[in-house]
Symmetry: C2
Subunit: 133 residues, 2 copies
Amino acid sequence: MTQAKATTGFLDQVNWNSDGLVPAIAQDYKSGRVLMMAWMNRESLALTASEGYAVYWSRSRKNLWRKGETSGFLQKVREIRLDCDGDTVLLMVEQQGGIACHTGRSSCFYNLLQDGEWQVNQPVIQDPKAIYN
Amino acid sequence: MTQAKATTGFLDQVNWNSDGLVPAIAQDYKSGRVLMMAWMNRESLALTASEGYAVYWSRSRKNLWRKGETSGFLQKVREIRLDCDGDTVLLMVEQQGGIACHTGRSSCFYNLLQDGEWQVNQPVIQDPKAIYN
């Protein structure tokens, strides 16, 4: 019981929102690039910690989302961090395949505000059709 | 009118949540360190773009929050990015004073999960009492 408490107590210190979720930012451990932001519930954070690979909560599908389970582009977790008020998680990951975005780009943040417009400024590394077929 | 449309049209492409907000991640332009995550409404993103310094929306105080207005630790914005589904913003900033967190640390993500517990692993650079007095 002591051990169980020791391994899940960190979950109690997270300030889950009214839906039982927190935002989780994934950052590439080597390049420092911010890859994506997704959501986690208690179970997904517990699994991320125990399995060592990023597991999110899909708000649209309402189920656990093992990142890369379809594409193969898993996120191996090197560090799990929590912010000062406990309501945001930061994962330092090794992004397998170098592709985090479903569009086939390294990062989801490929839209850059330039001259008052969002402009795509990151290349597609692999055609999504090839990734998800 | 055309010019006004051109300078605010990017706001219409953001997928604001049901509260009219999006999460905004601030990342240090030089070090690559993720500094904090806060929220923006339409006005705060517009002001961030026009003023060139990070302006968030404080959900607790329910007002615009010019980051650093009390501490002096402004965030000069170098890039504003939007993710693939338009519901998360990433700011690349120059963090003035090198302190983003109200605890006097460089980043808010100073809690590292180690051996099943959140452990503080970033030093306080400046005593918050000295920052906010």
